[in-house]
């Protein structure tokens, strides 16, 4: 992975930068020791590592502002970091950067059930936002798989989704307001407890901007009352095309399940060996979950089962109890772990139009043979967000490169059939160089022009999102 060379000027003044940071932060919030900065050398994309110049752990918006002001004055790149769970290398440091971790900022600032929002510091984890409101039977809807660990800051940066976004939407649809600190250290309030923007929708622009436009320190999030209950049905087919048709028919029927998950045979076999959830050995498995009262769930499942039956399933298992529901979900939730038992894997995140599912799955199968690497597919079928897991051996020379080449081909295919490179993980460094397959030069130029407005020196989260070649002129001009 190409990264821009670190600035010799910045590297040379490390001591001065640390001294200045210590004037605005407590001593234990400034990390400059090489043994300790190593803890920040990568995120969940562990194939790429680079210890930063320093790491800081501010405890308030004002401290974040003070840090950014100093870094701006000293021309030091800053890499904002939530919990470091990015699968796309969104928080990968450069050797001349300061990691700005928001982990110490995890307070709940305001809870308002009448108006259905909660305001939190963004270092708070996704699941603990729900944790803060569930005593009143409310929840925060976006539920990325990493929700136990991932921070709201990262959710906002990547516009994270989850299994239940078919009904509830992704982060951007559940975000009401942010406190944003600009690279200059200015604190800007955008949105709030009210809905929608009075002027330009800057909130929508900031959500998903991968920490390149500012550092979000506080967020107002929409919370919802929990439904009375939820129950899944498991449906197995011996043909992926038929499974795809079933998904399409369910969606067309007017029922809105909260989740429609899909697993293919390699994934089913791996999870069975790992978790023993009792899945049938078939080509494609669907888990469809609906919500409501007992009667409502029964009525919806009855329709879904009727639709499923018209496609001749090999297995149809309606959950009748919380234990059975847990068992149906067990395999799906263990899928990544199960694949990880077999080998190292790379998890892709392209989205395709649902109608293209059969074609794309067939092509992935063919490519798997061409590249000689196994692949399992587990994904959110309702919205076409695929997660092909390519298995490789990190210890085998050349295997990672082969895996990356295979992954790139899959993502190009996603774009070719009308989809996109990433549905919920973000571009980061991982898909940076593929951006040219989805966007023309002018399309990237206008996005980079947005960064020019927020961060004219191009210091925030360097070398992410845009191909280095596309951003070169701007980065040089900014120096």
């Amino acid at each position: 992975m190409d990264m821009p060379p670190p600035s010799p000027t910045v590297l040379a003044k490390k001591a001065r930068i640390l001294d200045r940071l210590r004037t605005v932060l407590p001593a234990d919030a400034v990390i400059g020791d090489e043994a300790e900065t190593r803890a920040y050398e990568c995120d969940a994309l562990t194939a790429y590592r680079c210890p930063p110049l320093a790491a800081v752990l501010p405890a308030s918006t004002n401290e974040v502002a003070a840090v950014l002001k100093i870094c701006h004055e000293e021309n030091v790149p800053v890499v904002p970091r939530g919990a470091g769970t990015s699968l796309a290398g969104g928080a990968l440091p450069t050797a001349d950067s300061v990691i700005l971790g928001v982990a110490r900022m995890n307070a709940v600032l305001e809870t308002d059930y009448e108006n259905r929002f909660v305001r939190v510091q963004t270092g708070r984890t996704n699941l603990s936002v729900t944790g803060a409101v569930e005593e009143m039977d409310f929840f925060y809807a976006p539920d990325p798989s990493s929700q136990l660990a991932c921070a709201i800051a990262g959710n906002i940066a990547m516009n994270s989704g989850g299994a239940h976004c078919l009904k509830y939407g992704v982060t951007t649809n559940n975000l009401l307001g942010v406190t944003l600190v600009t690279m200059e250290g200015e604190v800007v309030e955008i949105g709030g407890a009210h809905l929608d923007a009075g002027g330009l929708d800057l909130l929508g622009l900031i959500c998903g901007s991968e920490g390149q436009l500012g550092v979000v320190t506080e967020a107002t999030l929409r919370i919802l009352r929990k439904p009375e209950g939820a129950r899944p049905v498991l449906i197995g087919y011996d043909d992926i095309v038929v499974a795809g048709e079933c998904v399409s028919d369910i969606i067309k029927s007017g029922i809105l399940p909260v989740a429609i998950e899909f697993m293919d045979r390699p994934c089913i076999r791996a999870t069975e060996a790992f978790a023993g959830a009792g899945y049938p050995d078939c080509e494609a498995l669907l888990i469809v979950e609906v919500e409501g009262s007992e009667e409502e769930i029964a009525a919806q499942l009855e329709r879904i089962v009727a639709i499923a039956k018209t496609h001749n399933p090999v297995e149809l298992r309606e959950s009748g109890s919380p234990e059975e529901s847990a068992k149906i979900w067990l395999g799906r939730k263990s899928a990544f772990g199960a694949m990880g038992q077999i080998n190292d894997y790379m998890c892709l995140d392209g989205t395709i139009p649902v109608s293209q599912l059969p074609l794309v799955l067939r092509r992935i199968g063919e490519m798997s043979k061409e590249f000689g690497l196994d692949v399992g597919n587990v994904f959110h079928a309702g919205d076409g967000n695929m997660h092909p897991l390519i298995l490789f051996d990190a210890n085998k020379p050349g295997d990672l490169e082969k895996c990356e080449a295979f992954g790139a081909e899959i993502l190009k295919l996603c774009v070719e059939v009308g989809g996109c490179l990433t549905g919920e993980h973000g571009v980061g460094i991982e898909k940076r160089d593929l951006m040219v397959t989805q966007y023309e030069a002018d399309d990237l130029d206008i996005q980079m022009a947005v960064k020019d407005v927020f961060d004219p020196k191009w210091l925030l989260n360097p070398a992410k999102v845009f191909p280095l070649q596309s951003s070169e002129t701007r980065r040089i001009a900014a120096e």
């Binding site: 600009t182 800007v188 009210h194 929708d201 007017g254 919806q300 139009p353």
Partner: protein, 374 residues
Amino acid sequence: MMRPGSEAELADAVAGATGPLRVIGGGTRDIGAPVDGDVLSAAGLSGISLYEPGALTLVAAAGTPLADIEAALASEGQRLAFEPMDHRGLLGTTGVPTIGGVVAANVSGPRRIQAGACRDSALGVRFVDGRGRVLKNGGRVMKNVTGYDLVKLLAGSWGTLGVLSEVSLKVQAIPETEATLVAQGLSAQDGVAALSAALGSPFDVTGAAWLSDTGEARVRIEGLAASVAYRLKQMGAEICAGWDVYEGVASAALWQEVRDVTPLSGQAGTVWRVSVKPTDAPALLNALGDPQAICDWGGGLVWLLMPEGGDGGAAAVRGAVARLGGHATLVRGSAETRRAVSVFQPEEAGVARITAGLRAQFDPRGILNPGLMG
């Protein structure tokens, strides 16, 4: 008036412009500071280019009449989830509303509280920027975080950052049935409290409004018939005890009235659209001397009828909003009033600097609806 028939012609028209352009779709949403300039209409770009009911997605040229889109969707039992308002009644305009106009103005109706705003259903855009470049962002899939989200930025930018040429939207199945619970004679305070309780219930309310003239609170439920019946029973037993029930077309009529702000149409005065924290709505009305109002979105969206004279209520409305938080837009007012006061909410310095910076990038010559948003 320029009325290009293709995206390329649209790009040429913008690139070749030598002065300000007044960008319009169907011309039914005459909102904002009056713009002097050559009219550039996107209405010539028309047609649905892709509609996949099984994927809940539709792509159409920006000038496609909204009615065409709604008819195509209805033939498959689907609709736009965000329930866009028809402004013609309130503004006394004529013309054909277009899908581009809906997106450019981020027009969202009562279902916004449950299904999201227009911007939440917008999956992708193609547009021509102020330099005359054809640009695209987003796509036609429901989950997409590839690069910055300019779709949201363009939605609600009123043609000031670019002229939309194509939009791609997420659509929704029309539920089997709908019903509305109605109570009369509630004060603003009691009405909004009831709406809050309904929205805080597990019964998936898709509309919650209070109308000042009758003190009427309305709560809508949609879904499968058996499910709607169940939820009506539950809500009737708790939060909405004793409320009347309207079903089917009678229910739909109540929401078309809220959506189009019908009670304020045809009445003299300025009309303001205020977004506040829902429980602040009663305080807002109280501060303004209880003008006629419709509180949609559980109280979060307040439509106000204010006297036309003087500043059209600008100082009073903006003062109250400044104290409570939120934003106010003068949706209906004479051209003089719209020239004299800021139609859109004035921005704090930090936000204003970012906005100005973005405008300079998207429209460096300042020719796209200049000044419309202030």
